[in-house]
């Protein structure tokens, strides 16, 4: 870890000014990801801009009946928020599937969106990694890539984006509000994160001089038929091998509208609208779900150690959609098995 300066603005505009002034400055919210990266020398900011005092901590209903979540709302508060529990249980469930009580107490909504990959090599500064050091090469492509992506990979990076919360946000079609020197703008969730392409150093489309201020959820919460399934090596407190967020609007035995997003398989939450469209109007049965799974995974490509993820994801999609259709969401409490 290296020495750094430290600032604590009270206003969003001030925070934006400060980040714009110094390209090596970083915002620090909960710090659970940033401090970890600093301990491994992956991040060496010259200046920390502590944003914990910014007024971005409320959860409010929007005029259209949706929800606006401030970027600094702690993950715990969000998961237990009555409006989230009742109207967006898929989001609550995904948050509870991730990290631990202590971490969720510290971690912020914006920080969760921004959290960086858990690729082993990204964390190990002794190894080449294009994301950490553009142009140095990717150790994972020929290395141990069991945890890595099967969709949307590039020649320069095959990392996965590790958030659980964001997979649900993707399925729920959230929007991200950001503020920059030129004012505020919104981005569809699907446009926020990006594929590695040949610039894997960029995780998302937030400009270096912008700050996330809020996440907005549309009114439709899929509270009745949803499920978040996370498959991992240990029952709790491990990042996903594959995770699936499924949300359905049912019409009797048939699917009226479907949302499907995958985690642990790509550099961003993976959503394929064609697969969702293919489910609309279909009977909620295994055949329909399998078809949707095949569409989602049609371009999937495995590497030496992670090819298993393709079939695992297929099976997980079918299982999660089944849970959603039956109204029996996966419990994130491991005592109850469904």
């Amino acid at each position: 870890m290296i020495n750094f300066q430290y600032a604590r603005p009270n206003e969003v505009a001030d925070a934006v000014r400060q980040i714009a002034a110094d390209p090596r400055a970083r915002f620090i919210a909960g710090g659970t990801n940033l401090l970890d990266l600093m301990k491994s020398d992956v991040e060496q900011p010259s200046r920390l801009i502590d944003i914990s005092r910014l007024p971005l901590k409320s959860v409010e209903e929007t005029p259209d009946g949706g929800l606006r979540i401030g970027a600094l709302v702690p993950n715990t508060d969000l998961a237990y928020h009555p409006l989230v529990e009742s109207r967006y249980p898929l989001l609550a469930s995904a948050i509870m599937a991730g990290a631990s009580q202590q971490l969720r107490n510290m971690a912020s909504t914006g920080g969760n969106l921004m959290q960086r990959t858990r690729c082993y090599y990204f964390y190990d500064i002794a190894t080449p990694c294009n994301k950490r050091e553009p142009g140095s090469g990717c150790s994972a492509i020929e290395g141990l890539n069991r945890m890595h992506a099967i969709l949307g990979t590039s020649e320069s990076c095959i990392a996965v984006y590790p958030s659980d919360m964001s997979i649900a946000l993707a399925a729920l079609e959230a929007t991200v509000r950001v503020m920059g020197p030129g004012g505020e703008r919104t981005m569809a969730f699907a446009d926020f994160h990006r594929l590695p392409g040949d610039t894997p150093e960029r995780d998302n489309n937030l400009e270096p001089n912008e700050i996330i201020t809020a996440i907005e959820l549309p009114p439709q919460g899929f509270a009745k038929n949803h499920s978040y399934l996370k498959i991992r090596d240990r029952l709790s407190y491990a990042f996903a091998l594959v995770s699936v967020a499924a949300a359905l609007e049912m019409d009797g035995e048939a699917v009226k509208e479907a949302r499907l997003a995958l985690g642990g398989v790509a550099h961003k939450p993976w959503r394929v609208e064609a697969a969702e469209a293919a489910l609309a109007g279909q009977p909620a049965n295994e055949a329909s779900f399998a078809k949707a799974a095949d569409i989602v995974l049609s371009g999937a490509k495995g590497f030496e150690h992670n090819a298993f993820k393709i079939d695992l994801a297929r099976r997980a999609i079918i299982r999660t959609l089944t849970q959603a259709a039956n109204g029996t969401p996966q419990s994130q409490s491991s005592k109850k098995i469904r």
Partner: protein, 916 residues
């Protein structure tokens, strides 16, 4: 580091020196954290040592504190964040009136700890839970790992179940009396190795090799030396060029002297290259990074079979040509397996393998060394074997034994990992060279890449049996990957060919084992010590053979298991010093079969995708190692009529200080808390080989028994002579005829008369008894995704008389949890260059609360005629049947045999048909 010991609560500074105010446990401190400092180290620098480090990365929860009442991982919290807020640590949990917080009381009542390194963090999480959260402990405790307990005792604490027994004079043995340190543990006062501040302390850090095999051509130190605060740098040129083994055993000849403190050849990625000592850890770390090492890369080999082949790269070329990389090989045959297989109706042959895993004791390795005013050197360290560590230090540095003092404070878990001297030597070197105290604490990453591991073994098993199930031949072929150094290699290899094969009676047995050097991190001692690996293979194979013959797995075992009176033999003809001090295998098997049949545990999850199966496995342990093991105990009556007991053996969470006190107390008809115990200190306690090989009770406990008996005889003898009546002890007095004489009074009289109320005894291990463990598992596996859920776990243990039932149960539950981790989730992953890619607890997954089901534990009703007060060994063997029972249940559920650990979803799901 700019803090001084005077960094105590202070009055607010004046305006010209504005500093941040931090409220820690109600006291206000003014201090400026160093740039980038996390709250954890900031608190510890203020002497708040209840805040522990298990990982420093947010993975383990040992550092949990409250910030304004909310639990957070202090290692991931920037210290400056706490300015103006209230920090509460375990030291501040209890109300000021001196009573305990309900959670502390609950942890004390349920003795919800073993090494207790996790306890402070665990309690801080638990004490902040809402009632609703308490309903879902697996979720609530996601962020707190415990390696020792298997979480059951923690669950008990949270459900308000208290189990501690009253400490009644003369009845300590067999009662669940609490640890003598229980109060200190729950209040955070218990001190571990690193929990001390010393004036002038230097910090040591080590540069480790990125290469698996290389010769060091040169090490440039100028840039490193220029880092402000660096005091000294040590490379292979600065250390005594003396060979030794880091493994600790009574007989040093069982391990090869193949290591140098620092060497000019590195043989695994992670090996020490150079050490830096500096004023701060950060400076030492920075300097390590600036060392310029020129390596000549040498060819490396990682697979032991490849390493045995002619022409393979040589790991230790000073060894004779003809032996190549084979460090040890063991062969034996009794009867004739060729004839045995010829007469078999069914033969099963398969290759099984087990993975390299790490102990993950929550407290990492570490020591502090300094030169005392007495002119001697003192080493405070986290070890299982302080006396052997002392011998090795004397050997390395040419010191006289009387000039070296090695001791432990509380040890935060060992499991065999601390049967190794891997931190003391460099600290002592640096302390001798700089004249200052030097401390070195391993990081969690170093724990994975630079400490020892369980030997990876590949076992080919061939079993033959007649139609009725009677075994006709057992043949084992074991290849053990000992890594770059051979400590524990031959002993674990011997153990691998011992117990698991001895457990079955069969006239024809053959064994061949090879321990092979490779460029991997070294193997070492690890709970189960070699026999866990082959127990996995043999117990799986017994099930497969039973399946071939259509025989029930329980019946198959009953037909062939060793029975009292049998000649106890593995595959060699030499007589052994093992005998049946007692026998309870039959009871254990009956219990497990009955408990599985009765049901219990969780029901199978709904849905046809879930398949269910049950499995059983057994294990046999010879109590104590076949090599020498010695221990000593010393007792003294004190002027106030209480006792002093000194035992050499280390307490590392195994509970030995509790049980040793109980053994002494019951022989002295006293309450346990009349006895003050010191242990694991080369100045204060008699010699002990070390706490390993399940000897804490059968060897050290035996010494305590003998010392206590001698103490009793000394007191009663004097009292009889003094009063002329027949006497007996009663707590703090002797009763002679009708007269009751207080021990304080007796002491005064006796001492005046020149009597010495003292006793010292040594014990030595031979004859050795046998102990047994049987594990039963019912599990469900999801055919589509390969997830495994353990639904019901039952365990029968034949460990003789229980000195402390609660502790015994804890040891078994901890072993089971460790077995579950080994079977299902733990795996050290290496890349093609032999570097570990997952050296962090988030990627190397030990079981969390949610992963460990409660186990129904049964204890066979046996009383051992060899062990002290009827007790036998118990710390290790319970792990051995766990992995095979799980694998057998998985085979039962799916019809597919998975012979390689761990049973991760991606390894198994592909072989499962998604539909029944």
């Amino acid at each position: 580091m700019n803090h001084t010991p005077a960094d105590q609560p202070q009055p607010a500074p004046t305006a010209d020196a504005p500093r941040n105010g931090y409220t820690i446990n109600g006291k206000l401190y003014f201090a400026e954290p160093q740039p980038g400092q996390c709250l954890r180290t900031f608190l510890r620098e203020r002497g708040v040592f209840g805040v522990k480090k298990g990982c420093d990365q947010g993975d383990c929860g040992a550092c949990t504190v409250w910030l304004d009442g909310t639990p957070v991982h202090s290692c991931l919290m920037p210290a400056f964040r706490a300015a103006g807020r209230e920090v509460t640590t375990v030291e501040g949990l209890a109300p000021p009136d001196g009573s305990l917080h309900p959670v502390q009381q609950a942890f004390l009542g349920a003795q919800a700890f073993q090494c207790s390194f996790c306890t402070a963090g665990m309690m801080m999480t638990c004490a902040a839970l809402t009632d609703a959260q308490k309903e879902d402990m697996p979720q609530a405790l996601k962020g707190n790992l415990c390696r020792c307990t298997g979480y059951r005792a923690i669950a008990d604490a949270m459900h308000g179940r208290a189990e501690i027994a009253e400490d009644i004079a003369g009845e300590a043995c067999g009662a669940s009396v609490p640890s003598p340190l229980a109060h200190a543990i729950v209040t955070g006062e218990a001190r571990y190795t690193m929990d001390v501040a010393m004036e002038g302390m230097l910090h040591l850090k080590v540069l480790r090799s990125p290469h698996a095999h290389a010769r060091i051509r040169a090490i440039g130190r100028d840039r490193a030396m220029a880092v402000p605060g660096v005091a000294a740098i040590f490379t292979w040129e600065d250390v005594p060029r003396r060979l030794y083994s880091t493994a600790t055993h009574e007989d040093h000849l069982v391990d090869p002297d193949d290591s140098y403190m620092l060497d000019n050849v590195v043989r695994f990625a992670g090996q020490r290259v150079a050490a830096v000592v500096a004023e701060t850890e950060a400076a030492a770390e920075a300097a390590c990074r600036l060392l310029e090492v020129e390596y000549e890369i040498l060819p490396a080999v990682f697979d032991p079979v490849a390493a045995m082949a002619p022409g393979a790269p040589r790991i230790h070329d000073e060894r004779g040509e003809e032996r190549g990389n084979i460090y040890a090989d063991i062969h034996g045959e009794i009867g004739s397996v060729a004839e045995g297989f010829a007469s078999a109706d069914a033969v099963h042959e398969m290759t099984y393998s087990t993975s390299r895993v790490q102990h993950v004791h929550l407290e990492t390795h570490g020591s502090i060394a300094w030169q005392g005013e007495d002119g001697r050197v003192h080493i405070r360290t986290s070890t299982q074997a302080p006396f052997i560590a002392k011998q090795k230090l004397c050997h390395l540095f040419g010191l006289r034994p009387s000039d070296v003092h090695v001791f432990t404070e509380r040890v935060g878990g060992g499991f065999g990992g601390k049967q190794e001297m891997i931190s003391e030597d460099l600290c002592l070197l640096a302390a001798l060279k700089t004249g200052r105290p030097v401390q070195w604490e391993f990081t969690r990453e170093e724990q994975f890449i630079g400490a020892t591991t369980r030997h990876q073994m590949t076992t080919r098993v061939k079993l033959g049996a007649r139609r009725d199930g009677t075994l006709t031949a057992i043949e084992l072929h074991v290849v053990s990957n000992t890594g770059a150094y051979g400590g524990h290699a031959s002993e674990t290899l011997g153990a691998s060919l011992g117990g698991p094969m001895t457990a079955y009676r069969c006239p024809n047995k053959k064994a061949a084992g090879y321990a092979v050097y490779t460029n991997m991190v070294p193997g070492g001692g690890f709970r189960g010590y070699g026999s866990s690996q082959t127990a996995f293979a043999i117990e799986c194979a017994i099930d497969e053979l039973a399946r071939l013959l259509g025989i029930d797995p329980f019946a198959m075992r009953r037909k062939n298991m060793i029975l009292p009176g049998d000649w106890i033999e593995s595959a060699w003809n030499d007589p052994s010093d093992v005998d049946f001090g007692s026998y309870g295998l039959d009871q254990c098997l009956d219990f497990v079969e009955g408990a599985l049949a009765k049901g219990g545990g969780l029901p199978k999850p709904e849905g046809e995708e879930w398949a269910e199966g049950t499995g059983v496995a057994l294990a046999m342990l010879e109590c104590g190692p076949p090599t020498e093991h010695r221990s000593g105990a010393q007792m003294r009556l004190l002027p106030d009529g209480s006792y002093h007991l000194a035992v050499g053996s280390t307490e590392m969470g195994n509970g030995s200080i509790t049980s040793h006190r109980q053994i002494a107390a019951s022989l002295l008809s006293a309450r346990a808390d009349r006895i003050a115990i010191v242990n694991a200190d080369t100045d204060l306690a008699p010699y002990d080989t070390g706490t390993f090989a399940s000897t804490g009770t059968v060897v050290a406990g035996q010494a305590v028994r003998m010392a206590a008996e001698a103490m009793r005889d000394s007191i009663l003898g004097f009292a009889r002579r003094h009063t002329g009546a027949d006497c007996r002890l009663d707590d703090n007095a002797v009763i002679c005829g009708n007269e009751r004489v207080g021990l304080a009074e007796l002491y005064a009289i006796g001492t005046r008369a020149g009597h010495h109320f003292e006793a010292k005894r040594k014990s030595y291990l031979s004859l050795r008894s046998v102990a047994f463990n049987v594990q039963g598992i019912r599990l469900a596996v999801h055919r589509a995704t390969g997830e495994i859920r353990i639904l019901h776990s039952v365990h029968g243990a034949d460990i003789g008389r229980l000195i402390n039932p609660m502790q015994c149960r804890g040891q078994i539950e901890g072993s089971i949890a460790m077995g579950i981790g080994w079977a299902l989730t733990e795996q050290m992953v290496y890349d093609a260059e032999g570097r570990m890619v997952n050296p962090a607890l988030r990627n190397y997954r030990i079981p969390s609360y949610a992963d460990v089901p409660p186990t129904e534990v049964f204890f066979a009703d046996t009383y051992d005629r060899i062990g002290p007060l009827g007790a036998k060994s118990q710390g290790e063997c319970a792990i051995n049947p766990v992995a095979p029972a799980i694998a057998n249940a998985l085979a039962d559920a799916t019809g597919v045999r998975f012979p390689h650990l761990p049973l991760l979803p991606d390894r198994i799901f592909a072989k499962l048909a998604p539909h029944a």
